[in-house]
Symmetry: C2
Subunit: 307 residues, 2 copies
Amino acid sequence: MPAPARLTAALLLALLPAFAVTAADAAGKPYRSAQQILDASPDSVWRKLDPDRTLYMDLDTGRVVIELAPQFAPEHVGNIRTLAHEHFWDGTSIYRAQDNFVVQFGDVDGEDPAKAKSLGSAKTHLPAEFNRSAKGLDFQKLPDSDGWAKEVGFVDGFPVGRTSPDGTAWLAHCYGTLGAGRNNADDSSIGAELYVTIGQSPRQLDDNITVVGRVVKGMELLSTIKRGPEPMGFYTDPAQRTPIKSIRLASDVPVAERTPLELLRTDSQTFREVAESKRNRVDDFYKRPAGHIDLCNVPLPVRTPKD
Amino acid sequence: MPAPARLTAALLLALLPAFAVTAADAAGKPYRSAQQILDASPDSVWRKLDPDRTLYMDLDTGRVVIELAPQFAPEHVGNIRTLAHEHFWDGTSIYRAQDNFVVQFGDVDGEDPAKAKSLGSAKTHLPAEFNRSAKGLDFQKLPDSDGWAKEVGFVDGFPVGRTSPDGTAWLAHCYGTLGAGRNNADDSSIGAELYVTIGQSPRQLDDNITVVGRVVKGMELLSTIKRGPEPMGFYTDPAQRTPIKSIRLASDVPVAERTPLELLRTDSQTFREVAESKRNRVDDFYKRPAGHIDLCNVPLPVRTPKD
């Protein structure tokens, strides 16, 4: 004892980057894991985050890095840039954490005229930006579809659903999606109260709410926040809220204090190969490759530049 | 100020149980939220957990309640019952937490013959139980399919995929699924090292690993565990592991110390109505009902009995 059957801890679940691969795909081409494909990728398939559309949410536990999507929600992203620039969120909190759903943050007193923080020069009303025209988008279609959208794929690094090339397109709710909280009216969000999804992708929200971006680093700081009471996770004890030190645009932060990151270009052959590698896993662990991948199971690789 | 647009905190994301519903579905029948359907359900559609196939994982933070699935993995569940009965996991730890994937627990020294805990009278080798014959299962098919399985639905409260009524069926990896860690060999799991999924459903593991049950209460204790280092989340500092006080069969626990729970029967009309209510949300919040639901987005309601 132990029998070989106990050799499970380190090798289990086959996500080892250096996983020994002996299998080959049907065409006889050696199978490569996603990590092997990424390790061999040229620098040209990686892009730097644009500091003008990058948010840093600084918590006591570290930094959450968010990429904004002005091409899908220009009005909301504009307002969010104003709010960040004017320090609206500094000293606010994450005041809701609902398991397998969202964390939500902003001014917990936003509903109370006597206590609400000033919105400064941000707009107090915006149009709903649930979707946009699909025309002109560089849409990288996934081979598989799902029941939530006619077509699914990627645009500029974001998971997207669309009705057709000439129809409408919207940002999908996957793990790490940043959305603008709203009331029942579709135009009741202004980007001051935001949420990030932390569980199974709530795709039912797609095209029902304005999505403004996604977390590209630091999800583990949000996903591990103590949950508030059921059913909705709003803390009853204010002491349980997570303080937000600041939310700033990267371009407002001195260069030396920025977090350098590169994202894999979703219009690259490398990205297509990574998705296919996850779609059909042909290695020593998987006995039955799925031959399918859901939009929200496709990894969106991020790396720290070498220098 | 604030403008009505700021009234977002409490009403956002439309999961309020007492949500005021004025809309009606296409047939003119008033729409009811899932919570309204549950509140009006008869006691007969609820079932008590069977203490002989319920595990209590007691942590310093509270109790995780797990329902085992012997109808899908009889050999593994048999071994798990033996291991629990003989206190195998008491004093072990959760030694891995990978964000958006799994927490994993058991004997971290299981690979080291000199340190490994005794397996007692548990078996040291089991057959793989990735799937079983679909025949004889009371399969409640969902109206929608997905790309991971020909058909998806529920059996005895568990999310299940199957090839056909006469083919094979397997437990699907949704949020809270409990699986048996294994090495590359399909028959290398014995149920001593276990994992629970804590993020987007990793359906690519379906029919590739032996699933043994699911968490029915206490997921928030597992999902908030501090993540280990990337890429796989195994802690390098043993102090970061989460101690497991004990894992016991409910039937081995005095009745007064048990956690009474009732689960909605997935073969009930109430369950079908709840799934349909989530599938097509017709309320004041949702502007575009999805007309679809993924297997892992269907809620599996649990309640505490009234007396």
